[in-house]
Every structure is written in C-alpha cells, then in structure tokens.
Amino acid sequence: MTREHIVRSFGEDLRRLGNLITQMGGVAEAQVDSAIEAVERRNTRLAEQVVQADARIDEYEREVDAEVVRLLALRQPMAQDLREILSALKIASDLERIGDYAANIAKRSMVLAQLPAVSPVVAIPRMGRLVQEILKEVIDAYVERDVTKAIVGWRRDEELDDLYTSLFREVLTYMMEDPRVITPCTHLLFMAKNLERIGDHATNIAETIHFLVVGKPLKGERPKGDVTSYELVTPDREPAPVDEAGRLPPSAGGAAG
C-alpha cells in the first residue's frame, strides 16, 4: 500500500472501507469489555446497554457489505485490492458474530444478577481478559497489517480453549454437588461457550489478515484446546481423561458427545 492508485478515489474508497472495519472492531471490543464487566459487577444497566448497542455493530456490517458490493461492481479490484475488499467482508462478518456473543453474555448476566452468586463465576472475567487480549491483538494486527501479531493472537486461542475446558469440568462438578445452582451454572456455561466462540472468530480474523497480507491462507493445524465436546462427568467419577486430540479412550464408554 505504499504507492497510491492512479485513480485517487479508489484509494480513498479502500481507506474508508478499512476505517469502517477498524471502527467496527473497536465497537466489538468495547461490547465484549462491557459484557464482561456487567458479569463481574452484576451490573444490569450496563448489560442492558450492551444488548441495545448490538444494533450498532449490525449497522456497521450492513454498511461494510454495501461498500464491498459497490467496490466489486465499480472497481473490478485485482490482487491486493481484491484481497483487501474480501478481507473486509469476512472480518465484518466475524465481528458481527462477536457482537452477538457479547450481547448474549450481557443478557445472561442480567439473569445471573438476580440469583445468588456462584463461585465459578470468577472464571468468566478470567476467560474474558484473555479474550479481550486476543481480540485486541488481532484488531491491532489488522490496522497495522502485521501478520506476526495476527499469528500470535491465533496461537493464544489454545489457552482460551484450555480455560474453557477446565471451567466446563468445574461447573459440571459444582452442579452435581448442589442442584440448586443448576440455573446460574447453566448460564455460566453458555457465557463461557460464548467467550470461547469469540476466540474462534478472533482466530478467523487472524487467518483473514494472513490471507490479506501474504496472499495465501494460513494453514497448518491450529492447536485445538476445546475438548469439552467429548467430556464425560458423572457423580461417582472424576472427569474422564481425554487424549491430546480430544478423544476418549475406548474404556471411557460411549455416553459422551
């Protein structure tokens, strides 16, 4: 992007599109921050604001979509320009999902705030901080077109998956001990799952940045830490061990998944 387009308005269009994504990313980050704070502080007013502000992110996505269609039709972009435009479309869609998850966390936090606090809730801010860091990393990577930074964020998703897995086990055990906490704990699990999904969308964005800058997809196995799909916890048994690929050993039985 060092040289300018001969047709300057094309360059301006692309810059405007990039700015839209950056702004949208900022709003998505703020939504995630507020949603986590709403959980942590049992702040229902803040949660309500998050739910309402989700419409802003949707509005950004519509704007990006319209701009992308317009640029594709009018400019017939090639090479880097084409990748720039496709990337904007994909990142906007990821950010929109991230916004949805943040809003969902906020909604559930309102329910949690009406119930007695349960101790595993402390894991949400812990996961939340990691999500915030990853999200910030990839959005900065987009702004700076920094592939290395994007890959760092991409790799950190594994830590998030690990946190999610341990929270999942902890919450299941907690519910077994006291069925009265099933309601708040179920909401907790969904919140944690939402955070885990936000991390996945952040890694999508990192992959898109790689494609945008390098021109090739980011391949290779991303370290996958979320093994909860295979998790089996029963009252009389410790969580079944799973191997690194997340598979249950044959002896652990078929009730999982």
């Binding site: 300018e4 001969i6 090639m78 090479a79 290395t148 390098v214 290779g220």
Partner: protein, 275 residues
C-alpha cells in the same frame, strides 16, 4: 524469527495447473530473446515458455515490449528495417530463426489477428479462401468450400454469413469482421494464433463473442494474446506474462497473477498504481 513463524504455518507454494489448461507440452520456447530497433533495445532477454493448447496473455504498459515479443513469434519483425532479433525461439523444438525456415510457411503455422479488423476488400468467401488458395491446401472447389465453411464455423460466424458469402467482408460489423479475420487465420490450419489486442476496437458484446471464441479455439490451437484490458487477460488466459520496460517481470498462472502477484511492479500495474 518472523519469517520462520510464517513459514511454519504456511503451506509451501505449489505450482498448480490452470483449470482445463492445455496438454502440459511446451509449444514455443524462447530463451534470451533480445530485440533492437536500431540502437534502441526493446526486449532485454526474454525467457518464456508457451504451453500448447492454452491461452497465454501478455500484459504491460505501452512500450513494455509485449507486442514486440508477440511479433517475434512469427517473425513479423523481419518486415521492419533496422530491427534485430537475438536469442532463440523454437516452435516444437525447431529454431524459427534458423536458416532453413521459410517465413511464409512459418506464418501459416503461426497465424496472427490484429487490433483493427482488416478484411481484404473481397467477398467473405474469398477472405477465408485466400490463404488456402495461396498455400495450395485445396485441390477442388468442394474442398475449398469445406475449408471456408469449417473455418467460419470455428470462428462462430457461419450462421451469420452463410447466406451472403459473396458479399464484401468489409460490409460486416466490426465484431463480425474480427471473427472473419480469425476465420481467415485458421483457414490455413495454423498451430498457433497470435492476437494483438483483438478486441480493442470492438464493443462489449462483440468482445464477449471473441472471448468465447478464444476459449473454444484453445482446444485446437495455442493462443498468445496481447491485451491492455486486464479483465480480459484474467478472463481468457491460463497463463499471464507481465512485461515492463523490455523485461519479463513475472510469468505465472493467471489466477495467481491477478490474486497474488509476486512482484511489486506487477501488483502496481494490475491494481492501477503504476505511475
């Protein structure tokens, strides 16, 4: 460290065959091709292999040497005074600048279609029959008629002109005239067809007809096309070569050139940043 990190997660670049692209055989090999017009050097040593039964597009700004290179392939540059060609170009392994080469025969094997349709001031029939006649390809009039019909069919023009073969070729529309010129070129059974901006004088519909024709022709011919229209190069070719100031800057699969060019100059040119 940075590059290692990226390498570790990036699949190694693999050469992919263009979809439906040719036999994989090299039809024309050029090595170290240099062209001088008097003292001025127009090509600075071009190494380029053109695959059989595929469309190779030559792109680049005006004066980059792409047309000069195209004209080397059937020795059209021989007709220009003070033009000197160095290096070797071989067609099916045979040096086309060798002493034993008959340029008239060469140009029958390597036909050419120009920017402006240039039908002879003759009937449609005679335009197409001209080449087969002078090359003695048809003994009987029936043979000649068959060649004319087949050539016009291949050029996608037959149904439009079959009822008026004796009308003058110059009376056709621009797009039809260009297809007539293509029919004329293929009437002598060439192996390679060179096209120098074949659509630049045509409207979008006539252009679409020619592009469709190019796509059909590559089943039987090797096509090299010079075009200023990048979208056209992207649409019709399997391989694209980018020329700049007499150098071949980049040559690769067309899809690769237009999505992820390796060279900054190519990138600048195809995205309209070339200054």
């Amino acid at each position: 460290m940075v590059s290692k990190m990226i390498d570790a997660t990036t699949t190694p670049w693999v050469q992919v065959t263009a979809p439906g692209g040719g036999t994989g055989r090299i039809k024309i090999r050029s090595s170290g091709v240099k062209v001088y017009y008097g003292d001025k050097q127009a090509l600075k040593g071009i190494n380029l292999d053109i695959a059989e039964n595929s469309v190779t597009a030559l792109i680049g700004p005006s004066g980059c040497g792409k047309s000069t290179y195209l004209r080397c392939l059937n020795r059209m540059n021989d007709t220009i005074d003070r033009c000197r060609v160095e290096g070797t170009i071989s067609l099916d392994g045979e040096d086309i600048y060798g002493r034993t080469i008959d340029t008239v025969q060469l140009r029958a094997r390597v036909g050419m279609v120009f920017q402006k349709p240039n039908p002879f001031p003759k009937s449609i029939f005679d335009n197409v029959a001209y080449g087969p006649r002078i090359h003695g390809l048809a003994r009987r009039i029936e043979d000649l008629e068959e060649i004319v019909q087949r050539s016009l069919e291949r050029a996608g023009l037959w149904s439009e002109v079959k009822s008026r073969l004796l009308d003058p070729g110059t009376g056709l529309s621009g797009g039809q005239q260009q297809r007539l010129c293509i029919a004329r070129a293929i009437a002598v059974n060439p192996e390679v067809i060179l096209m120098d901006e074949p659509c630049s004088a045509l409207d979008p519909i006539a252009t679409a007809h020619i592009e469709e024709l190019i796509d059909e022709l590559r089943a039987n011919y090797t096509i090299v096309i010079v075009t200023h229209n990048m979208q056209q190069a992207a649409r019709v070719s399997q391989k694209t070569a980018f020329f700049h100031l007499g150098d071949l800057v980049e040559f690769n699969d067309t899809a690769e050139i237009f999505t992820n060019p390796r060279d900054d100059k190519t990138q600048g040119y195809i995205t309209g940043r070339y200054g």
